[in-house]
């Protein structure tokens, strides 16, 4: 994959940060609004895909590192399962933070209201873990598939 024209690269430079921020917004508000870990992670990964196609895979490899992605993926998964383990006082996956008054522990107000970020117990934590895992995982998939596409193109030309 070759790098694309200067226009595309400049536009990418302008928007990719916003896409990533939007993705993290979806992840962080997963317990209040539509969306969550997977959806937000997919949005973040789409920013990486944009970088990849506009800069070309060789240039993109300089700032998108598969090793770091795979480390992030493992961290996200481990965080998810550790949060699940922490609920083991009652049962696995038990929402031990909800309504406890500590982190994300506020009571949910019944009725129609703008929503409180500080509620829902372990759900935001799990959303963050899943989001981390998904954007790293999809990033790896995109990068590896770009490698594969490069290989098949070489094979066709030869």
């Amino acid at each position: 994959m070759k790098e694309m024209s200067k226009i595309v690269r400049n536009v990418t430079n302008l928007v990719y940060g916003f896409i990533i921020i939007f993705g993290f917004y979806i992840i962080a508000h997963g317990h209040l609004t539509p969306g969550g870990g997977f959806q937000g992670g997919a949005v973040v990964a789409s920013a990486f895909a944009l970088l990849l196609i506009s800069y070309g895979q060789l240039n993109a490899k300089k700032f998108l590192n598969i090793n770091i992605f795979s480390l992030l993926e493992s961290c996200g998964l481990t965080m998810f399962i550790v949060v699940a383990f922490l609920g083991l006082g009652t049962t696995f996956f038990y929402n031990f933070l909800a309504n406890s008054g500590s982190w994300f522990g506020n009571m949910v107000i019944p009725g129609i209201n703008p929503g409180d970020m500080n509620t829902a117990g372990v759900l935001p934590l799990m959303n963050i873990a899943v989001g981390l895992e998904v954007f790293a995982g999809l990033g790896i998939i995109v990068l590896l598939m770009a490698d594969g596409a490069e290989f098949t193109k070489k094979k066709e030309n030869s």
Binding site: F38, I109, P110, G111, I112, I141, L144, M145, T152, K155
Partner: protein
């Protein structure tokens, strides 16, 4: 009657998917066939969750006099979509590796294992 249209769409989706799997002789098209079946099944699940006049399950307590749909089918569909993405990515990357080793993605030629 109009409420049954989604089910007809489901049948069409799944039928097209199975047709693709049985008669299209290209590995990428087979992957597309699996995606079609998956979309059909997802549509089926989400249609099952429909209740006439009910509101979306976003309130802590339902407004009085109105029923709220059960969020289970939506959760099922989301899970199934996530799984579907993983499946599709895996199938496509395997098709890529087949192209790398065999130099083709025609079904006729990808059958060294038989008998």
């Amino acid at each position: 009657m109009i409420g049954n249209f989604p089910y007809i769409a489901v049948i069409i989706f799944i039928g097209l998917g199975i047709y693709t799997l049985m008669f299209k002789r290209n590995l990428i098209k087979i992957a597309i066939g699996i995606c079609l079946i998956e979309n059909g099944v997802n549509l089926f699940l989400i249609t099952l969750g429909f209740r006439k006049g009910a509101v979306a399950p976003i309130y802590t307590l339902a407004p009085s006099g109105q029923s709220m749909v059960l969020p289970t089918p939506q959760a099922l569909t989301l899970t199934s979509i996530v799984i579907g993405i993983a499946t599709t990515a895996l199938i496509l990357s395997i098709a890529m590796m087949i192209y790398k080793h065999y130099g083709t993605i025609e079904v006729n030629e990808v059958r060294r294992l038989r008998g």
